[in-house]
Symmetry: C2
Subunit: 194 residues, 2 copies
């Protein structure tokens, strides 16, 4: 019984992420969503009291996935440059496996009402802090240029977040290859030094 309920809920979340990514969160009504899942509206409301609860569940699920995947790397004792590269590769991997939800965790989370909006902003900030810290450490070790860590963390994450817009699962590059190339490009730059 619990299992069925969990899987029904997951099924709704998946269908919602797909529908939101195709039509935009604001355009999708609870009735459209019930129809897409193939259930009655009343059954949908038994899982989620209002549409925003679905947005919130999807956003939280992704935040958790990003944190669970990147945090062990950030807290490992890898060499600073390789650590940043591995964090970039992991971030791309999480982005692309949650790509239907990417509009939500990149921009649409901003339409959450309070206190959820602030809670989510804090989760993002905690996550970005792992990137700021590794960059600051690289600057301290004289390994990276003396760049502002907040600015460069935002630049790196922006470049990574946008991959969901052009990634094609049937394309030539795997998420891992995309991550590797971005990691090299963002840490070593374009200009040849060898």
């Amino acid at each position: 019984m619990t299992d069925t309920k969990t899987s029904r809920k997951e099924h709704i979340l998946e269908a919602a992420a797909k529908l939101f990514s195709e039509q935009g969160y604001a355009s999708v009504g609870m009735r459209d969503l019930a129809q897409a899942v193939g259930i009655e509206s009343s059954s949908l409301y038994s899982h989620f009291g209002k549409k925003e609860d679905i947005l919130w569940d999807i956003a939280l699920h992704c935040a958790q996935d990003f944190n669970d995947t990147v945090s062990p790397i950030a807290h490992s004792d890898l060499h600073t440059k390789r650590k940043l590269q591995e964090m970039i590769i992991a971030h791309v991997d999480v982005t692309l496996r949650n790509r239907l939800a990417a509009p939500i965790f990149t921009t649409e989370w901003r339409i959450l009402s309070e206190p959820r909006r602030s809670q989510y902003a804090n989760l993002r900030d905690e996550y970005e802090k792992m990137f700021r810290n590794v960059i600051a450490k690289g600057v301290e070790e004289n390994l990276f240029r003396p760049i502002d860590e907040k600015f460069s963390a935002l630049t790196i994450l922006s470049a990574l977040n946008w991959t969901y817009l052009w990634y094609k699962p049937e394309g030539e590059l795997t998420p891992n290859q995309i991550g590797e190339t971005l990691a090299q490009m963002l840490t070593d730059g374009l200009v040849r030094t060898f």
Copy 2:
């Protein structure tokens, strides 16, 4: 008479960009927009037959601004690395002076109906081509690493496009300083080589 009509139209476009950026294109109705501008709905309809016409006008205006600003640099005889850097600085400048319209030229243009959507996709492609060309030239000159020019052009533009989300006009950095830092970071990377 023509002047007044032009300026009324521009006023509508500005108010629309602001309202769309605050509430999302899909959530704003023609009535909300007329109210924000302080005119009757019927007067709004005399300028724009439907809401999508406004989206289209804003998108085209921005595409024109990007092209007019970046194209002279792309076709100059600057050294390849400096050319790419100047193009990056110019792109950031255009992004930030049109930042209210940024959701439109980055993602929301995708909701345009055909044939506008394809026309706009072509304009974007022509624009991106200037970045692909300068990167390909740098690779050919053995100045840049042997990186795929399509991939790196997309990465650079993604990093630049996202600046509108965190730029604060009252903050410490000017658009030009942001552009300079991004230009250095994206061409030379983070890692010290001196």
